[in-house]
Amino acid sequence: MKTVEEIKSAIEAVLPGAGVEIVSNLSPSGQHSLRLKPECALAVAKFLRDDAELKLDYLSNATGVDWPESLEAVYHLYSVEKKHGPVILRMKTANRTDQVELPSLTPIWRSAEFQEREIFDLYGIVFTGHPDLRRLLMWEGFKDHPMRRDYREPDDFEYEPTAHDEVLKRSTEHQAAVAGQPGSEAGA
């Protein structure tokens, strides 16, 4: 298995200007990752899958992370054929509000299909090029992205307007009308 540095130079030999950046991991797991520029990500991903030495044919895990300045998508790749891994890819959005597009890697690895839908649902990253980008877990019509750290849940998810106020109004009017009639105790 190549180290992240070797993978980086292998990518840059084939795709000059891909701008791959190494993100080092200080924890004892020692799983370092590669940050891709979103505009080159698809080409790099295709290279990683098809390269004869790497053959990262299996995308195991795709997930989102919410950082204070941006949203991030993280992909864990393994090779079924060569039995090595993981190689970790990361992509960051420009900000957390209006520039949240990242390229979808579903065309390269189909296993990203549901996982990217989940990231879109829970974090709000919009994956361009995804064949069927809909919410996965929350219902249609739900507005927010619950895994974001600034998400505040509403008091009552299941609030539905009822005829309560209307019925109360009619009842009050009725009571008042009854009170005005002769012989009624309520009016006394």
Partner: protein, 391 residues
């Protein structure tokens, strides 16, 4: 940098779509919502199926009925406090959920696990795999119309295994057994003896199960050639576990990663030829036999000693900033936990890689062109638990 044309207009490769017959002028497609309350969906799950006569021309899985945002909850509590929650993911196999989570935290904090605890993990993990596969085959035959009998045979054995779990951990299903750096309680000699007795009886059960089912004419007619999944497609779609191996791909994380102490045991990885429902059934049956082989070795070799490392950090620790991805071969496929620490007492990011959800990615492709009655079988052969799909 110039982006190639094919990348800008990506076509999904390897989609298993048979050409749809034109329904013509006569008739129209019938849309059926299978679920969320349907006995074959193993919980609350919906498949929106479009049918041309009996034939499936579209299938859309709908998730989220059991969604409780487990990941969000885990980000608000300490590392240890998530351990009992993991029991509730795949509630048929709580032990392997505990194991995968403990492994990820051990990777994040760099902890060692004592020898005896590793053996106990393997013993409990393989017992879990055995009872999961037995019940899964039972459910599959139930869906084929064999109402009760094979499922009750499987549950008879499962009950013996759950009794062992209860005796050791205090609970049949919600075991909350593993800790970072070991296991919560030690097994007594009497428990190990009882486990040896139960394991000695399991081979007879597999023989009986195989005699009952493997050459059953109805089972063969219903499952052979149904729901075929090609190997390259299975890999690309991230399918793992018995489903992947039924398609003939030799990928078992116990062998590949050798996590824990799996590289000490001799066992084989059964592989399928055709990748149909029958192969998935058969692979589970064969894996049960291999589990027995592992169990016999582990029960013979289990050493004495502590089950918890003396330097174990269990509660109130703050891992150094960093991240770790730990994965194991759970009975349903690759179960992984991805953790990011920012130096705080809670995980900054806690992610479960659920095999049940990702194995369903390819469900539509397997079902297209089959009869609606086969959808139930194909879905059953994936072997999912909704607690893990929706999290």
């Amino acid at each position: 940098m110039k982006v190639a044309e094919e990348l800008l207009n990506p076509k999904l490769e390897g989609w298993n779509r048979p050409a749809l017959a034109d329904p013509g002028d006569e008739g129209e497609l019938l849309e059926v919502a299978m679920g969320p309350h349907h006995p074959s969906t193993h919980g609350v799950f919906r498949m929106d199926v479009a049918l041309d006569g009996e034939r499936v021309v579209r299938l859309r899985p709908v998730f989220g009925y059991l969604h409780r945002n487990h990941e969000k909850i885990a980000e608000g509590i300490s590392y240890l406090a998530s351990m009992p929650y993991t029991d509730r993911l795949d509630y048929i196999c709580p032990i392997t959920n505990n194991w995968a989570y403990a492994l990820a935290v051990e990777k994040l904090t760099g902890q060692e696990v004592p020898e005896r605890a590793e053996y106990l993990r393997v013993i409990l993990g393989e017992l879990t795999r055995f009872q999961n596969h037995a019940s899964s085959i039972g459910f599959l035959t139930q869906e084929m119309g064999a109402l009760g009998t094979p499922l009750m045979y499987a549950f008879r054995e499962r009950e013996k295994i759950l009794d062992l779990f209860e005796e050791l951990t205090g609970a049949r299903m919600m075991v909350n057994y593993m800790r970072f750096g070991g296991c919560r309680v030690d097994a007594s000699a009497a428990w190990l003896d009882r486990t040896r007795k139960v394991v000695a009886g399991l081979a007879g059960f597999v023989d009986e199960f195989e005699r009952l089912l493997a050459t059953n004419e109805i089972l063969m007619a219903r499952t052979q050639g149904v729901g075929v999944l090609r190997a390259d497609l299975a890999i690309n779609a991230g399918v793992t576990g018995p489903m992947l191996r039924a398609s003939g791909v030799n990928y078992d994380i116990r062998k590949v990663d050798g996590y824990g102490i799996y590289n000490r045991f001799n066992f084989r990885v059964p592989l399928g030829d055709h990748g149909d429902v029958y192969d998935r059934f058969m692979i589970r049956l064969l894996e049960m036999r291999e589990s027995i082989v592992i169990l016999q070795q582990a029960l013979k070799e289990i050493p004495g000693g502590p089950v918890m490392s003396s330097t174990a950090k269990i509660r109130g620790f703050r891992p150094k900033p960093g991240e770790a991805y730990g994965r194991i071969e759970a009975p349903k496929g690759e179960l992984g936990f991805y953790l990011i620490s920012n130096g705080g007492p809670n995980p900054y990011r806690y992610r479960v890689r659920p095999p049940s959800l990702i194995n369903l990615t390819i469900l539509e492709d397997m079902c297209l062109g089959h009869d609606v009655a086969d959808v139930v079988l194909i879905f059953g052969s994936v072997d999912i638990v909704l607690g893990e799909v929706d999290r």
